[in-house]
Amino acid sequence: MKDIRFEGIGKAFPTRGGGQFVALDDVTLTVAEREFVAVVGPSGSGKTTLMRMAAGLDHPTSGQVAVGGKRVTAPGPDRAVVFQQFALFPWKTVRENIAFGLRCQGAPRAKQDEVVARYLRLMNMEGTEDRYPHQLSGGMQQRVAIARSYAIEPDVLLMDEPFGALDAQTRTVMQEELVRLTRREPRTTLFITHAVEEAVYLSDRVVVLARDPGRLREIVDIRPTRIAEGWDEMAIDAVMDLPSFTHLRTHVWRLLRDQIRPDD
């Protein structure tokens, strides 16, 4: 397993007038091995940019990102990404989508079949393997995308608002399932979201960003409370009714609220 280190990350774009726009300013953050860290922040705080840098899809203008001690320069199969828009291959079946990364690695057919079967079972999707993505609901599509990422057994999982495009009910179910999956197969996870409850419920730590420029505001530790109260064994609605949960949620929410402007 590998950790993710953001060291003094800055990102600036030249603007038309010859000046520059600073999207991220001096962000230092470590996601430990097997730790689940959620990043929340108002739009424009650069949270997605942060994730894309860890994936190697975007590059900082100052500072550096290292995964497992190695500087990130390009995408690689040690880091899997789950996108908000699912980004499934529409012309491939569920089976072909999940097996894609393994095929890229040249895994034998038997191994591909085994992994596909395993994740279909884990994600409660047996019987859908020969369907095309457009024949599935949004929730099912995102399950395929998560399975596709897990299938390559990455050291690091990067999730960019994976449930942002789902309706409220589906979203709750998916959150519960993700908890089940991540506790069973913990991986170093960076989870980007703008939903406070989701962040508090899922993660070990919640990172709150501020904007203009995007920078670190506060890091809130959730894990001790979660372990002490045994959240993982409870249903999601029961967790969300706990006073400790409400307290943490309100704390994170207040950190965000004073940054929100009327035009958001």
């Binding site: 995408p75 690689g76 199969p77 880091r79 899997a80 996108f83 291959f89 894609f100 990364g101 890229c104």
Partner: protein, 259 residues
């Protein structure tokens, strides 16, 4: 812009069709123009039938058509094989786009038929020369549509393939190609039309067999009925190609379109 009843539309369409042939027949039979210049529709059909069995300019009409179709397939196939991958790669990699685009834009203004002299000089007048002219005519739509298609593929899907470890060639074959297939097929249809037209042009100018050669020979013999029989054959084949590719296009859109 009132709507027509189906019956009215049907009657008018029939009238239009009959009218077209009636005017042709009338002008040809009236003696207004010399009979040597404009044969009647029936004579053109009879000539086409006759040419199917009796050789003209060395071969029967069917043999000439076979020669033409062979060149067409080669030139068109070559254009698709070069244009589609190049267009996809240009849509994916900015640097390649920046390098190739100005050269392509420059060459595009030269009419494909202007390549005939060089084509004949470099590859002869048999098969190579005409194939090169067809290639010049058919390449631009293949390349442009593949390029546009690749640009329109959802960037997240390309990134998903990248982070799953797909190599450049694999991204082209398994992501960009299927993702831009509707656009590519539309381009191939336009391209086939231009290829067919360039082929006729090339055969009119330099060739020793083929449907264009038949027409130019008939022109020197002042045999308009053979010229028009050739036009008929060219039109029928062109139409068949277009219909076939249109079908493919509909199929592809139905299969991949929901994406």
């Amino acid at each position: 812009m009132a709507q027509l009843s189906p019956l009215e539309r049907w009657v008018l369409t029939l009238l239009g069709t009959i009218g077209f042939f009636a005017i042709w027949q009338g002008v040809a039979a009236s003696g207004l123009v010399s009979h040597n210049a404009l044969p009647t529709p029936a004579e053109v059909l009879a000539t086409a039938w006759q040419l199917s069995f009796e050789p003209f300019a060395g071969h029967t009409l069917l043999q000439h058509l076979a020669a033409s179709l062979g060149r067409f397939a080669m030139g068109f196939g070559l254009a698709a094989l070069v244009g589609v991958p190049l267009g996809l790669a240009m849509g994916r990699w900015r640097l390649l786009d920046d390098i190739v685009s100005p050269i392509f834009e420059m060459l595009r203004f030269v009419a494909p038929l202007a390549w005939v002299p060089f084509a004949a000089l470099w590859f002869g007048t048999g098969i190579g020369g005409p194939v090169m002219v067809i290639f010049a005519g058919a390449l631009p739509p293949c390349l442009i549509n593949a390029y546009r298609g690749a640009k329109l593929v959802e960037p997240r899907i390309v990134e998903a393939a990248q982070v799953l470890g797909a190599s450049g060639p694999r991204i082209m074959a398994e992501v960009l190609l299927p993702g831009s297939l509707p656009s590519i097929v539309a381009g191939l249809r336009v391209s086939a039309g231009l290829a067919w037209q360039s082929l006729i042009g090339a055969e009119l100018i330099v060739a020793s067999a083929g449907i264009g050669y038949v027409m130019v020979q008939a022109q020197s013999n002042l045999a308009p009925s053979i010229v028009m029989a050739g036009m008929l054959a060219v039109g029928v084949i062109g139409l068949a190609l277009d219909v076939a590719l249109r079908r493919t296009e509909t199929l592809v859109k139905a299969r991949w379109g929901q994406a």
